[in-house]
Symmetry: C2
Subunit: 143 residues, 2 copies
Amino acid sequence: MAIDESPARLRAKPSWLISKTSARAHRLIAEAMAGAGGRAYHFAILAALDEFGPGSQAQIGQRCGIDQSDMHAMVNELARQGHVERMPDPGDRRRNLIELTAAGRRRLEELDAALSGVQDSLFDALSAAERDQLTQLLTRILG
Amino acid sequence: MAIDESPARLRAKPSWLISKTSARAHRLIAEAMAGAGGRAYHFAILAALDEFGPGSQAQIGQRCGIDQSDMHAMVNELARQGHVERMPDPGDRRRNLIELTAAGRRRLEELDAALSGVQDSLFDALSAAERDQLTQLLTRILG
DNA sequence: GGCCAAGATTGGTTGGACCAAGGATATTGG
DNA sequence: CCAATATCCTTGGTCCAACCAATCTTGGCC
């Protein structure tokens, strides 16, 4: 799709540009993650565990903006791959404590590298300073 | 979801920020369009017809980045609402010429106003200059 | 003990983006 | 002028992310 041939009214709506960019990113990321046998959600969860330490599914889900039921499925996948361990919280038996394994820590770096590569090809047209600018604008929007 | 509580590794990936922003925009737009009895696709198609004049479904679809089969469904909806007319192209009987009706032209302005309102609430945190900046960055990415 | 809240699990639904095949018509090459 | 190829519409799907609701267990509270 040649963006410069799309209707001007459309091009004038930032939400449309964002949606198209997001779609393209989604495609590239899905590809990259499929090649690595993972998904974007995996990276998010592993990153949360790495930064904040073990936690319940609910906590991690909230931090990453992932739905409870989706969290369940993702933790199943990560546990099956040995990147995460699900263990009952001794202090609250409602909870599963999710813990990063050593393999999970390596996996996080692996996925991070793959995703960083995607960022490079996606934002190829922007300088480093412009990427920062973009990041800051988006962060303010979401704030 | 409080973005400042999400993992730093995630926040550092522009693609993640874009995806979240896109999701929020999608929610707001779906709401606004549902309230008006339409969809985002309707606006795109009407805008293309308004700017480029009548055309085949394939042409319009390419301009807007809409799949052929989805175009079919959307034109059905717009035709049923009287915003568009489907007529056989006399010069090429494979084609349907899609034409904007007078009601469709009014509808376009109506949807445009609704979408502009959504942009305002979505990009509330940005100044007009910053919105332009964002638009330009995204346009360059998609270029 | 009785009640409400939180967490996990299960089992959905919805909408957008895609893909494939077939029938009708055009176009092109020989 | 015929055969092969391409285009366009139409139909009928698939796939996945996002989301929602109900249930069950456990914890906290009065």
